[in-house]
Amino acid sequence: MDPMNIVPLGLYLVAGLVYAVHFVGRSRPVGRAATTLLIVGALSHTFVIGMLTMQAGHVPFAGTTQAISTFVWLLALSYLYVEIATDEHAMGVFIVPLLVVLQAIPAFQPGAEARVSAVLESPWFGVHVSSLLFAYASFALAFVIGITYVLLFKEIKAKHLGFFYARLPSLEVLDKMNLRAVAIGWVFLTVGVLVGWVWASQARTAVDLDPRVQAMSLQDPKIFVALLCWAVYSFELYAQRAIGWRGRRAAWLSAVGFVIVLLNLVPVSYFFTKSHNF
């Protein structure tokens, strides 16, 4: 157990419960309380990440476990941004559980602080990892917004106006939020992948070749799956521009994309990759 990562986990958990209460009861004070709790959780998480950064001398995302913690932190911040921008507390009940589940990994299974391998001592490292994590956080948001879109769409289509109808913002708003989150995520994913590619080709010329660098090719699952993600989201954006695919179809594509992201973030990183197991 890692006491430092437990504190934000606890706060996210409580915030998630309060979001659920807000979602059911729709009381504005409760909604504000949930947001406040989430802000406190994100702040404590900022503090944890700040401490680790000071300790290690770089932002803590060397090592899958720490990268997940940083991802959770970025997702919490992005969601708070969306919430403050739209003044809409209803989505917290979908996002915050995701924070809780993912934050449980660094909280209960802290990886030993990886001695920073020589390969990672490059300015590219920070850009590569932070843009990818930010992209994944955006995709997570798009995923959740997409789910809520489908829920509301089904209610209106079935002419059974109930639970979600009373609580969610309009379809149009959800659709726009989904596509915006995907667009932002796509930009960061592209930057992250390109930087990784440039960096890997540079590292190949180094004298003492790290076996992991050698493994960096399309055959490696981590890289392959990341490119698959890129393909899915590129298609979603293209389909929206070119043939007006939006609404439910865009929402489903966001969901598929994010499942792949999660796959890449957790099982692939822990068990399969040969190139990214830092």
Binding site: L152, I156, K157, K159, L161, Y165, A166, P169, S170, L171, E172, V173, I243, G244, W245, R246, G247, R248, R249
Partner: protein, 458 residues
């Protein structure tokens, strides 16, 4: 001082009588001036809407007040007592307050929870204020009514959900499109229902309205009234493609908009959603058109089902709203009763002031040697001492709410300070004190969660 309400509403009087009792027709100002001039008291407010005509009065004697008010109703609207009396209701004090609070909360409305009434109550108070016919009692009554109305809106869902078909359609459109500002509405057919729904859409600030009808002249007539553009009947598909919301209300005996027609219209839209409201009976749109992705088709029955659900949801909130009203009535009742201590407070202050004056007079020969500044200072200091001594007793008396305790305190104070000797309280001081009470109440009210007036008796 008592509170008296006399009035008629949609619950007691038919529309014909309510029309004749409409105050706005003959001028609220005149009515208020007449009421304020009556012998039984000066505070008056008139609430006049299409569903009710009510007069709120503050008076010393309820019977006389009631007589005056009934006379006023009859004279002002030129009706006989026989015509009027069966429909009038009268309520006093806390029950009158409860009535106004329920009205402000929308509990007494024809459509429970309708939102306009709170604004109308505010207007009634604003008018009375402008005419200076309000006093401490009505001020307190109306501000409490606003509190009750606002609390019911904020804490219950009494006003939530559309309860008419056309509002339900607007609410649905907003749930699909968000803002309706940049949307285009197409009205098919020139029926009354379609016009009503279109008007509601228009009030949401839509960008463009198109009208098409098989009979071109009908469409033109409606288009002029609604500032809309007429589209030829054979251009229906194009108009469908262009619109976001379609309202159909023709008298056709078979569906005029088939599924293939909608499919054709959807093609150039590139999956932009289309909301079709079919309020015609028999239906104008083939129900299978609703299965097309991004087409939301609602017919009159679907909308009515939404309305029925909303109405039952509102009804479920009534108990909670009534509980809030009761809370506010209790606070108001406590406040009214605490006003019973005013004469004692006045007498006590007069007694203290009299002692101070007497002492200053007695010392007059010794003070002659002092400069005017020093004499003013002496006067100031003695006055402050008296003020300081009276702060706590005044607060304590003010906090009393039940009449027995007030009577006991009054008795004790009378004996201790020999208050009966001071004689009748002079009215200017009484007025000043009443106003001070009202101001103190407003300050105390601000943190609303504080319990109403703690009673120090036990």
């Amino acid at each position: 001082m008592h509170l008296l309400l006399i009035g008629v509403s949609h619950r007691t009087a038919p529309i014909e009588l309510r029309e004749r009792l409409d105050f706005s027709a003959r001028g609220l100002s005149e009515a208020l001036a007449t009421l304020a001039g009556r012998p039984s008291g000066a505070e008056a407010a008139v609430l006049s809407t299409c569903n009710r005509a009510e007069v709120y009065l503050a008076c010393e004697n309820l019977d006389r007040g009631r007589g005056d008010a009934e006379q006023f109703f009859a004279d002002f609207h030129r009706l006989t007592h026989e015509e009027l009396r069966p429909h009038l209701y009268a309520k006093t004090d806390a029950e009158a307050a409860r009535h106004l609070f329920r009205v402000a909360a929308g509990l007494d409305s024809l459509v429970v929870g309708e939102p306009q009434i709170l604004g109308q109550v505010k207007d009634a108070y604003g008018h009375a204020n402008l005419q200076q016919t309000t006093g401490p009692l009505l001020k307190r009554l109306f501000t409490s009514a606003f509190t009750a109305g606002k609390r019911v809106r904020a804490e219950t869902r009494l006003a939530e959900g559309a309860v008419s078909v056309s509002y339900a359609a607007v609410a649905l459109a907003r749930k699909i499109f968000g803002d309706l500002k940049d949307r285009t509405v197409l009205v098919v057919g020139a029926g009354e229902m379609g016009k009503l729904t279109a008007l509601h859409m228009k009030s949401q600030g839509i960008r463009k309205m198109l009208i098409t009808s098989r009979t071109a002249t009908h469409a033109e007539g409606l288009a002029q009234a609604m500032e809309a553009t007429v589209i030829a009947w054979d251009r229906l598909v194009g108009a469908l493609s262009e619109s976001d919301i379609v309202i159909t209300a023709t008298g056709a005996s078979a569906p005029i908009i088939s599924r293939p027609l909608v499919e054709t219209a959807m093609r150039p839209r590139r999956h932009r959603p289309l909301f079709v409201i079919d309020i015609a009976v028999p239906r104008d749109v083939d129900p299978r058109a609703g299965n097309i992705e991004q087409v939301f088709l609602y017919n009159i029955d679907d909308l009515q089902a939404v309305v029925v659900e909303n109405v039952s949801r509102r009804t479920a909130e009534v108990d909670q709203a009534e509980a809030i009203v009761t809370e506010e009535v209790d606070r108001f009742r406590n406040w009214m009763q605490s006003r019973g201590a005013i004469p004692t407070v006045v007498a006590l202050r007069q007694r203290f002031e009299a002692v101070r004056r007497a002492e200053l007079e007695r010392l007059e020969p010794k003070l002659t040697g002092l400069s005017p500044e020093a004499r003013a200072r002496v006067d100031e200091v003695t006055r402050l001492i008296v003020e300081k001594l009276l702060i706590n007793p005044t607060e304590q008396l003010k906090s009393l709410s039940d009449s027995e305790t007030i009577a006991a305190y009054t008795d004790v104070l009378n004996r201790l300070f020999d208050l009966s000797r001071t004689g009748q309280a002079d009215s200017s001081l009484q007025k000043e004190l009443t106003a001070a009470f009202a101001a103190a109440d407003r300050r105390a009210e601000r943190p609303r969660s504080a319990p109403a007036k703690t009673s120090s008796s036990s």
